[in-house]
């Protein structure tokens, strides 16, 4: 589903955020990307979502070399992904329903189909009853679940999440991770960046640790901790 071939990403005026990184994530896998802040987790996700392009090397998503996509190719690529953000990025002036409907409207889904799918997604995150409320009237955990509903409403095959539990207490974090687990069970490939290692003890899935822009082997792990 995702393959990195010798990928280096360098930002102007600083060192390599990722250096010579190669790995592969299979379809249907659940992968947790860990590492301290500045280790390159966000950069890796940005390369997948084409928010950034690799300086060297190739990034394949669903068999496509996304680094080669033209500017026009970026929106269709992003529509194939579900993205969950740490700060959820909900639009404050629209209702929960309208926020979740946004990817469907962007994708040009028909007006009749939209309510059905929005409610299905809200139902999956347990917020069906709050569809009319604006995001600010919801709790932080609920807002994050709205963000997840928005990410899955188009039924993407790949979902990426950047610190989805960063703003949540341990209980809510676990709840969110379990939610991700359920999506993974129905076949969605998941790539979740998190620094919350204690949480990972309680969920299953492959761990991939980044350190200083490189993948760290289990032995490196031992060195760090």
């Amino acid at each position: 589903m995702i393959r990195f071939d010798n990928v280096t990403k360098r930002y102007d005026g600083s060192g390599d955020a990722l250096s010579n990184l190669s790995f592969e994530i299979d379809r249907g896998e659940m992968v947790f990307l860990t590492g301290t802040s500045g280790a390159g987790k966000s950069t890796l996700l940005k390369l997948v979502a084409l928010i950034e392009r690799p300086t060297r090397g190739q990034v394949f998503v669903d068999g496509q070399n996304v680094g080669r996509l033209s500017k026009r190719g970026v929106p269709p690529h992003r529509r194939k992904l579900g993205i969950v953000f740490q700060d959820n990025k909900l639009l404050p002036d629209r209702s929960t329903f309208d926020n979740v409907a946004l990817p469907l409207i962007i994708a040009g889904v028909g007006d009749r189909e939209i309510p059905r799918r929005v409610r299905a997604a809200l139902d999956q995150v347990g917020l069906l009853k709050k569809e009319k409320q604006p995001p600010r009237t919801l709790s932080t955990g609920e807002q994050q679940r709205v963000g997840i509903a928005r990410a899955v409403v188009t039924r993407p095959r790949l979902l990426i999440a950047d610190e989805p539990t960063g703003n949540l207490d341990p209980w809510l974090s676990l709840e969110i991770m379990k939610l991700f687990g359920r999506f993974n069970e129905i076949g969605v490939t998941m790539l979740i960046a998190t620094h919350d290692l204690t949480l990972l003890d309680r969920v299953k899935g492959r761990r991939m640790q980044l350190g200083d822009g490189r993948l760290m082997t289990p032995e490196d792990d031992a060195l760090v901790f």
Binding site: A49, R78, K80, I83, F85, K89, L91, L102, P103
Partner: protein, 297 residues
């Protein structure tokens, strides 16, 4: 999709009534100004056109010339292909007429001789140019038995020149004001884009195409143009209504049967069309410069 964009753009404008009405008023004024000026100049041309055919000139013969010489001159002029008709008023007839119309009969009786000359009122054909008339006038003035040739068409030409000049002024003003509308709409949309930066970023992250992000702003620009055009029409109709009474009095004073050009359907359509084009154009200029700069980080 377009219908939804179109109606939500209108709702968006309605959500900020004060800002929207100020903007559309400025657009309305900017559109109404050149349109009204144009109407004014067109009416001026109509009036001048009405006078242009009045190019009759008068020939006053020398006081001592004989009635026959007037008839001879009239016959000579009638034979020219640049002359349409000639009316001869002999001195005696003129005196009778003057006596009756002026009421100065007794004063005139004290005069030893008739002070009035024989007069010819000459009407050139429509095809006659101003130059031909001037040449004829000069030639006639030189003759011994002709006192004065009064060709007074110069002011009509001057008026026409002024109107041509005015038309150019209106054209320049129109172009400038249309630009003003484009700039006003462009700037309004630019501010709108800036205030919705976060939203645009989210839309792009969710895979919205440039067209998708652009469309709502273009429709807002379109609505500014349409509503601005309607405001312009309203201003012009109100202005016309306020000017109607004094204009009628003025025309009445000239005993003229001029009919004035008002705001007709095609002018109205042009104003709305101008509004739509400049509103859309302004929005385009703003989105093409500012939307691409907003990229999610």
């Amino acid at each position: 999709m377009h219908v939804r964009n179109c109606t939500s753009a209108l709702q968006e404008l309605g959500a900020q009534p004060v800002a929207t009405s100020l903007t559309v008023c400025v657009i309305g004024i900017a559109l109404a100004l050149p349109a009204s000026l144009n109407l004014l100049v067109q009416n001026g041309r109509n009036v001048a056109g009405g006078w242009e055919s009045v190019r009759d000139f008068s020939i006053y013969m020398a006081i001592d010339s004989k009635p026959e010489s007037a008839d001879t001159l009239a016959a000579e002029l009638r034979a020219m292909n640049i002359i349409d008709s000639v009316v001869v008023t002999l001195a005696e007839d003129a005196l009778v007429e003057f006596r009756e119309s002026s009421g100065l009969g007794e004063v005139l009786d004290t005069l030893e001789s008739n002070p009035l000359p024989h007069t010819l009122v000459v009407r050139p054909t429509d095809a006659t140019s101003a130059n031909e008339l001037a040449e004829l006038g000069a030639e006639l003035t030189d003759r011994a038995n002709i006192d004065i040739v009064k060709i007074d068409t110069q002011w009509v030409e001057r008026l026409n020149a002024i109107l041509d000049f005015m038309r150019r002024v209106v054209l320049i003003a129109s172009v400038l004001l249309i630009f003003a509308v484009i700039i006003i709409v462009g700037n309004t949309i630019r501010l709108d884009i800036q205030s919705r930066r976060d939203e645009i970023e989210v839309l792009k992250l969710l895979g919205a195409s440039d067209g998708f992000v652009r469309r709502p702003f273009l429709y807002v620009g379109l609505w500014y143009g349409v509503i601005g055009g309607v405001v312009a029409l309203f201003l012009m109709i109100t202005g016309g209504w306020l000017l109607a009474a004094p204009l009628e009095r003025l025309i009445g004073l000239y005993e003229s049967e001029l009919s004035l050009l008002g705001l007709d359907g095609s002018t109205a359509l042009m104003i709305i069309g101008g509004g739509v084009l400049s509103g859309w154009g302004g929005a385009w200029s703003a989105v093409s410069r500012h939307l691409a700069a907003i990229q999610p980080k």
